[in-house]
Symmetry: D2
Subunit: 281 residues, 4 copies
Amino acid sequence: MSNAILLVSCPDKRGITATITQFVYEHNGNILHADQHIDDQTFFMRIEWSLTGFSIKKADIGKKFESIAKKFKMKWEIHFTDKKPRMAIFVSKHLHCLYDLLYRYRSGQFRCEIPLIISNHVDAKSLANDFGVAFHRIPITKTNKAKQEQKELYLLKKEQIDFIVLARYHQILTKQFIKNYQNQIINIHHSFLPAFAGANPYKQAYQKGVKIIGATSHYVTEELDEGPIIEQDTVRISHRYTLDDLIHKGEDLEKVVLSRAVRWHLERKILSYNNKTVIFD
Amino acid sequence: MSNAILLVSCPDKRGITATITQFVYEHNGNILHADQHIDDQTFFMRIEWSLTGFSIKKADIGKKFESIAKKFKMKWEIHFTDKKPRMAIFVSKHLHCLYDLLYRYRSGQFRCEIPLIISNHVDAKSLANDFGVAFHRIPITKTNKAKQEQKELYLLKKEQIDFIVLARYHQILTKQFIKNYQNQIINIHHSFLPAFAGANPYKQAYQKGVKIIGATSHYVTEELDEGPIIEQDTVRISHRYTLDDLIHKGEDLEKVVLSRAVRWHLERKILSYNNKTVIFD
Amino acid sequence: MSNAILLVSCPDKRGITATITQFVYEHNGNILHADQHIDDQTFFMRIEWSLTGFSIKKADIGKKFESIAKKFKMKWEIHFTDKKPRMAIFVSKHLHCLYDLLYRYRSGQFRCEIPLIISNHVDAKSLANDFGVAFHRIPITKTNKAKQEQKELYLLKKEQIDFIVLARYHQILTKQFIKNYQNQIINIHHSFLPAFAGANPYKQAYQKGVKIIGATSHYVTEELDEGPIIEQDTVRISHRYTLDDLIHKGEDLEKVVLSRAVRWHLERKILSYNNKTVIFD
Amino acid sequence: MSNAILLVSCPDKRGITATITQFVYEHNGNILHADQHIDDQTFFMRIEWSLTGFSIKKADIGKKFESIAKKFKMKWEIHFTDKKPRMAIFVSKHLHCLYDLLYRYRSGQFRCEIPLIISNHVDAKSLANDFGVAFHRIPITKTNKAKQEQKELYLLKKEQIDFIVLARYHQILTKQFIKNYQNQIINIHHSFLPAFAGANPYKQAYQKGVKIIGATSHYVTEELDEGPIIEQDTVRISHRYTLDDLIHKGEDLEKVVLSRAVRWHLERKILSYNNKTVIFD
């Protein structure tokens, strides 16, 4: 059976929670989760209810909810758990995150489809084949990026891709590209942002002599490595670690941090605002 | 101004959230936090609202809510943030947790009163004096426990103590004593429970050769070290640690883990059920 | 080029470090790492030196060292980094650790050979095939264990296996089997030992209501889940986690904790004593 | 009884460890700890031995060692555990770290003397009095810093202070001041450096929306918040944390991170090089 998930943000005001829960209740919905949060006068809510016995048809729920949404000036989105989102993965030469995502996908941890892997290199091809996912190599040079991104967008549309995961994809996307997937591109950066943004974060960390390294997953915005942070984690290192040790330990973090972000995105647990995220975990 | 905090648990059923939020809304309450959780067919909720403009007097809110509570077979409690809970601390010879609690109290991290420290030893006396808290030494022997606990209970009633924190108090309380403070006695155990229950947990950990140690705060029940866990934390050690190093590192954990439990208890963020806790953090 | 790694334990006494380092130095070895540890009157050392220019042939180093070893009553072992250890993996139906090990192997994180995977089930077969590793299904029943272990030992000898990794292998090995691989069988247990030993540790953890879960890698001894602990790690959970969430989060820990143990074992960084381990990290 | 601790760094070369351990051994010293590290062609060592029965008098050990030191071009220092270092604490208005340091001092965790607390404010005075430590208020304005630092230096010399701990001291020290205490001033910065250097790190972290906060202890150099990092730790937060919650959780980190740095400094476990630290833990 299917559940509905409603995500809402609006200026805080008396009665929002009561009105929304009443809406679900009076149409015979059974609330499974309801979580709200108020920050800086803004109200955020995620509510999930079972559609079993719900008296409004899926296609009509949005229309019916519209009058409530208007009254409170809500931004809102509704999702249904019986529709699997379609995810594309972009990757370059480091394959550990790709590997990890595909394994979780195959073992049923992600409720999604993965019809498409795109890379500027050829390294991921055999791995994509092993998992039966279509692989497209689209090399990027200094001069061809705009044209190549058009190819990518064509493939993404054709495959009806809902969101993109950059699993160590070492190319900067253009503003034009990003506009097509606002808050729908998840990146993994191999440092504890905002420390060590940009290139070679492990080398930066090594040279700085930090005692802990991190990884950060975030939505991609126009500003490089500056989008809303979804998840971070850290792990202790010591002076005994070579740069290689540090990279290996970091890769384990990257996989976990990226996979959590993907999972929360799939489960509609993330609301972005003000370049930050609310995670309804 | 004051807020009301309502904690509810009951068999899960359609309409509970809607009914409760409607109750607050129709009496002109502004919901500040609402969090619910469903586990094994049981519904749990914590809801906090501002009493500014609320149309029911504090003293009457309970009565008015009673009919809703009955309908859904709720266990419930209501608290008001303008009433400071009164806390007693029991301690033996290790003073680090006592010290930490008193410092947090003095620096305003805890919204409570601490009118009373009880110990079976004299070690904590000068510290109690430094902070201006009444100190009572009540030594416990194999034969006098029942009688001494009566003295303790007398002091606790006299000071209108709401809850007790065992800040490394090395005496086992009797069933009779505990009955007076169900879910109102917080203990810190210096291990990651259920590992190393009972005496000398650091020594046990040292001999076992674990690579991580922990601390656990829990409500006290009749079964020693078996009450509902409120909070735990862990820290990495290595073979280089002596037993003393391990104790020092562990003491830092104990302080943090105990203080989090006390704070959540004060903020009415804990619901116990089934020998487990829901923490509405 | 190759390095020599010498692991030593003996009763503590004046002059051990000086004697060993002098031995390396006077034969023109360049010490790359030297780490020692003293615990309870016992001396432990790991020393690694480059064989470039070393004046004793590899085959003769042991003989030459023997007189020093006798003088100090040492237990000792010597390894050379140009010899890759041969590892077998035992697995049942949960494949995440197997997957992780094979990926690390393929990507060069482990300096070893993996010629053999043994399972009591068929589930791992296609994964073994993907990675080109020989797979043998050896089902175990209540009555055939002794006989089947003989088959396993035959395969292990035939493939000259140095050590075995139990990557979620849900069979208890017999004493007779274990004797063949003392301190050479690494298990991953999906709890923070000694908490939740035995079957279904995640379910035990869920029912207990712990706030943190863990994973433990250890050498296998006759006592189930009681062998010397090599590595542990923990991760925070909350009352919001279902048993399934807990399992998924735990699996990520298991992979990391097991892979660290395998790596340290391969790099000869582990000394066992007294049912504990010294990790020369 | 007393131990000697020798800290050494020099260009890496064959025979350093053997020569040093031989020096200790031939004069009848019993090595308790020996740890070495090689990084980027540089050799680092910490060696601690018991002076019981050592055949060189304390006052002469340095002279005797000089010829070895010259041969290998060593930077070196020797310390004796029977001499307690003398520590001064500088603090402004946030007293949690001061409190924590004084408690550890009183309870015997730090082997040192604390004869002096200096502050630009008056807030810490009564706390200093409680612990019987001399308190000097030395207010700093835009124009009087150079003069006031002279006063501070006078007090430090008079009290024979070996090293200074900035326990949330919100004044930038001048180059001239720092020169007097190279690698002898330990600061706690309330962020995970290099993220959020400078003023108001918690506010910066809150606005950035990080999911983890940190604290960093480091030696003070001329570049603000850029000195060699001694220790760091991190703790998970969520969107539910207000700025105040974040500050409270961060303060617990600061105390632990600063106290570890102080302890390692006291135990002579830190070697600085290249704006990084080796921690012989």
